[in-house]
C-alpha cells in the first residue's frame, strides 16, 4: 500500500465502500456476515476467512473494506492477513494442489512427490502457473498421517501418493506443451 495523506486515504476508502455497496454482490454478502458478528473487532479473522472464501484472495481494496467495516486501521488488517499462512494476497489458479509436508508424509517421500509436480508444472511450491490454471501449495500437516503421503487436489484429500500418481493427477490441469 502506498503512503497517502490520511485525509485523502479516508476519502478514497469511503468512495470504494460506496462503490462496493452498490456494485459487486459479494460485498453485500460479506457485509451481512460482518453484521452477524455485530461488527466486533475480534471477529477480524472470521471475516477475513469469509472474504477469502468469497473472493478467492484478499486484495488491498478488500482489506480496506474490511478495515472500514470493523473500524480497524488498515495496518491492523494487513498485519493479520499477512501473519497467517491461510490467507493469500495473490490470486490463485483455477485448480489447487496442496502437498502435505508433515513429518509422516516427509518420511514416506512427500518431498519426491513435490519435486515431481514442480518439475511437471515448471513452477515452485507457492507459485501459480502463468496461465493461472494451477497453484502449487504445501501444508505443514493436514492430519492425514495414517494415509501418508497425502495430497489435496482441489479440496479432495487423496491418500498414498507417488511421484507418478501425483503427476498423472495434475497433468490434465496443465497446458499441453508442444
Amino acid at each position: 500500500m502506498k503512503a497517502v495523506p490520511i485525509g485523502s486515504e479516508k476519502k478514497r476508502v469511503v468512495a470504494r465502500v460506496m462503490k462496493h455497496a452498490s456494485g459487486d454482490k459479494r460485498f453485500k454478502i460479506l457485509e451481512a456476515h460482518i453484521k452477524k458478528f455485530q461488527g466486533r473487532q475480534d471477529s477480524l479473522i472470521e471475516v477475513l476467512h469469509k472474504a477469502q472464501e468469497l473472493f478467492g484472495y484478499l486484495e488491498d481494496d478488500l482489506l480496506l473494506f474490511v478495515g472500514y467495516q470493523l473500524k480497524l486501521p488498515p495496518s491492523r488488517v494487513y498485519g493479520v492477513a499477512t501473519f497467517y499462512h491461510f490467507f493469500t494476497l495473490k490470486p490463485q489458479g483455477a485448480h489447487t494442489c496442496v502437498v502435505c509436508l508433515g513429518t509422516a508424509c516427509y518420511v514416506r517421500g512427500a518431498d519426491r512427490v513435490l519435486a515431481a509436480i514442480e518439475a511437471e508444472a515448471k513452477i515452485k511450491a507457492g507459485e501459480t502457473t502463468p496461465d493461472r490454471q494451477l497453484s502449487l501449495l504445501t501444508a505443514r500437516c493436514i492430519g492425514a498421517c495414517g494415509i501418508a503421503p497425502a495430497v489435496v487436489y482441489d479440496g479432495a484429500t487423496v491418500p498414498r501418493q507417488t511421484p507418478e500418481s501425483a503427476v498423472a493427477q495434475v497433468k490434465g490441469w496443465l497446458p499441453h506443451g508442444p
Binding site: 491461510f86 513429518t103 492430519g143 498421517c145
Partner: protein, 550 residues
C-alpha cells in the same frame, strides 16, 4: 431437560436399533478413500434388498486402523472389513444374511486392537458423531447432569485434582491445579478455551476426537465452565480440519436445541455457551497466549508469562485453556469417579494417552493405551514394526518440539517423566517411526526449517536463532561443515533454548539436541574432511555475534 428426558432419548435411540449394525468409518482418513461413497452404497444395498428392518447402516467416527481404510465393521460377530470399495457394498450387506463375501477381512484380535484401552476413544467408531441422540445413548451428558445437580463447583475441581489428570497438549501441567487457579480468581467474567489447534506435524488425535465424538468435548467444556465459574467457551480449531469444524458446528447446534448448552442447563442456574473460532494456519497459535491473541482477532504472537491466562487471559479475564483430549477425559472421570481414573497408569502419569502412529510402520492409525506402556509394545507389537522387514531406527515424539528416541531405548515406558529424561517430550501424542533409511541430520534440518518458518518473529533468539541453526544444519547435510560449525550449532541450541520467549523457541533445538545425543556419528560422518582424511577444524563462517550472545 432433565435426567428423565436424557433417559427417554436414550431409550428411543435403543429401540430404533436393528439386529445387525454395519458401522462405516466416516473420519477424515477414510473419507479421503471415499468412505462416504461406501456408506451411501451400503445404505442403497440395504434398501434394494429390503433388509431395512433387520440391518442398520451407521456412519461412525475413527475406527483407528487408518492405513487399511475405508473400514467397515459388522455386529454381531465383530467382523472388520478393510479397504472396502463402494462396489463391495451389496456383497457386504448380503453377508449379514449368511452369504459368503470376498471383501478382505481385518483381524480384530490383532494386538493393535486388543492392547488398547479406550477412555477418550470409547465412543469413537461406535456412535454416530452427527447425532446427539447417539452420544446420549452412550451415557452422554450424564456427567454434566451429575456435576450440576449433585456437586458444588469445588467438588468438581477436587474430583479432577484427585484423578491425577495432566494436560494432554504437551507440557503435562496438572489439570486440576489449573482449574483451581481459575476457580479461585475472582472475576465477573471468565472463559473456558478448548485448544484444538493441533499443529504438530504427525499428530491427528485431536482431529479424530473432534470428528468422532464432538459432544464429549462440549460436555467436558461445560463441566469445566461450571467448576471454574465461566459462562462462555471458545473452541479454537485449525482451518485445516474442515470436517472437524463441520461436526463441531452440528454438535453445538444440536446441544443448544435440546437445552444442553445455553441458559438454565438441566434446570439449574448454570448458563454456558460455546463458540467456534477458526485458526488461519499459524503453528505458534498452539501456544496459549498466542492462541488468545488469535481469538481476539490479532496476530498470533505470544506474550511473556506471568500473568498466566488463569489470572489474566482473554480480554484480561481469567481463562482456562485445556486441550481437546484433556477435556474429553472429563466426562468419564466425573461418571466413573476419580479413584477409577487414578488407578490407571503410572505413579505420576495417570489414565490413558491417545497416540497417532505414523511413518515407517506397518499399522498406522490411532491407539489409546494406559500411561506407562513400553514404547516397544506400541511400535513393534501393536504397530507391527517397520514394513518390508526394515529395522526401526528411532521413534519421534512431540513434533518439532520433541526428540528422537533411538531403537535401543524402546523399552522406555511412555509417561511424561521418562520421555523428558530421554530429551523428548510427550507432546500432543504424535509418534512417527523412522527406519534405517532415514538420515537423522536431515530430520533435524526438516524440523528446524519448520520452526524457522513458523517463528512468529517477536523475540530475537527464536527469529534469528532458528535461521542460523537451519543454515548450519543445511551446511552439515551438504557435507560442507567443519567441527567448528558443529560446536557453534550446539552453542546456538543452548542459547535459543534458554532465551526464547515461548515454547516454540525454547523447544526448537530439541530435535537437534536429541539427534546429536543419540546419533552423533551421523553428524560427524558428514563433516568436511581435510585432504589427509582428518576432520576439518577451522571455524566456519557462522556469524560471530551469535557466539557473543551465548
Amino acid at each position: 431437560m432433565d435426567l428423565d428426558d436424557l433417559n427417554t432419548i436414550a431409550e428411543k435411540e435403543r429401540a430404533f436399533h436393528k439386529k445387525t449394525v454395519i458401522r462405516c468409518c466416516t473420519a477424515a482418513g477414510c473419507m479421503s478413500s471415499h468412505a462416504d461413497a461406501v456408506k451411501a452404497g451400503l445404505e442403497k444395498a440395504v434398501r434394494d434388498t429390503g433388509l431395512g428392518d433387520r440391518v442398520e447402516v451407521r456412519g461412525v467416527g475413527c475406527m483407528r486402523l487408518c492405513c487399511q481404510g475405508p473400514l467397515v465393521g459388522v455386529e454381531p460377530g465383530g467382523i472388520l472389513y478393510e479397504k472396502v470399495t463402494p462396489e463391495d457394498a451389496p456383497s457386504l450387506v448380503a453377508s449379514t444374511e449368511g452369504a459368503p463375501t470376498k471383501v478382505a477381512r481385518g483381524n480384530p484380535d490383532h494386538p493393535f486392537f486388543r492392547k488398547q484401552m479406550s477412555i477418550v476413544l470409547a465412543n469413537s467408531g461406535e456412535i454416530d458423531p452427527e447425532r446427539i441422540e447417539s452420544y446420549i445413548e452412550a451415557e452422554g451428558y450424564r456427567g454434566l447432569n451429575t456435576v450440576l445437580l449433585e456437586m458444588a463447583p469445588k467438588d468438581a475441581v477436587d474430583c479432577v485434582i484427585k484423578s491425577g489428570l495432566r494436560g494432554r497438549g504437551g507440557a503435562g501441567y496438572p489439570t486440576g491445579l489449573k482449574w483451581a487457579t481459575v476457580a479461585k480468581t475472582p472475576a465477573a467474567q471468565k472463559y473456558v478455551v478448548c485448544n484444538a489447534d493441533e499443529g504438530d506435524p504427525g499428530a491427528f488425535m485431536d482431529r479424530s476426537v473432534l470428528e468422532s465424538d464432538p459432544h464429549s468435548v462440549l460436555e467436558g467444556m461445560a463441566i469445566a465452565g461450571y467448576a471454574v465459574g465461566a459462562s462462555q467457551g471458545f473452541i479454537y480449531v485449525r482451518a485445516e480440519y474442515p470436517l472437524a469444524i463441520k461436526r463441531l458446528q452440528t454438535a453445538i447446534r444440536q446441544a443448544k436445541q435440546i437445552g444442553l448448552l445455553g441458559s438454565g442447563i438441566f434446570e439449574s442456574p448454570f448458563n454456558f455457551n460455546i463458540d467456534i473460532r477458526i485458526g488461519a494456519g499459524a503453528y505458534v497459535c498452539g501456544e496459549e497466549t498466542a492462541l488468545m491473541a488469535s481469538i481476539e482477532g490479532k496476530r498470533g504472537t505470544p506474550r511473556p508469562r506471568p500473568p498466566f491466562p488463569a489470572e489474566s487471559g482473554l480480554w484480561g479475564c481469567p481463562t482456562l485453556i485445556n486441550n481437546v483430549e484433556t477435556l474429553a477425559n472429563i466426562p468419564p472421570i466425573i461418571r466413573k469417579g476419580a479413584d477409577w481414573y487414578a488407578a490407571i497408569g503410572t505413579g505420576k502419569s495417570k489414565g490413558t494417552k491417545v497416540f497417532a502412529l505414523a511413518g515407517k510402520i506397518a499399522n498406522t492409525g490411532l491407539i489409546e493405551v494406559p500411561m506407562g506402556t513400553p514404547l516397544r509394545q506400541i511400535v513393534e507389537e501393536m504397530g507391527g514394526g517397520a514394513p518390508d522387514g526394515a529395522k526401526i531406527k528411532a521413534v519421534q515424539t512431540g513434533g518439532p518440539s520433541g526428540g528422537c528416541i533411538p531403537a535401543h531405548e524402546l523399552d522406555t515406558p511412555v509417561d511424561y517423566e521418562s520421555l523428558t529424561r530421554l530429551g523428548s517430550i510427550m507432546g500432543s501424542g504424535g509418534m512417527i517411526v523412522m527406519d534405517e533409511s532415514t538420515r537423522m541430520p536431515e530430520v533435524a534440518r526438516y524440523f528446524m526449517e519448520f520452526c524457522m518458518d513458523e517463528s512468529c518473529g517477536k523475540c530475537v533468539p527464536c527469529r534469528a536463532g532458528t535461521v542460523q541453526m537451519h543454515r548450519l544444519l543445511d551446511k552439515i547435510v551438504q557435507r560442507e561443515a567443519t567441527a567448528g560449525d558443529l560446536s557453534t550449532l550446539e552453542e546456538l541450541c543452548d542459547m535459543v533454548r534458554n532465551t526464547s520467549l515461548c515454547g516454540l523457541g525454547q523447544n526448537a533445538p530439541n530435535p537437534v539436541v536429541s539427534t546429536l545425543r543419540f546419533f552423533r556419528d551421523e553428524y560427524l560422518e558428514l563433516l568436511r574432511k581435510e585432504p589427509n582424511g582428518e576432520p576439518a577444524v577451522t571455524a566456519g563462517a557462522a556469524p560471530a555475534q551469535n557466539k557473543e550472545a551465548s
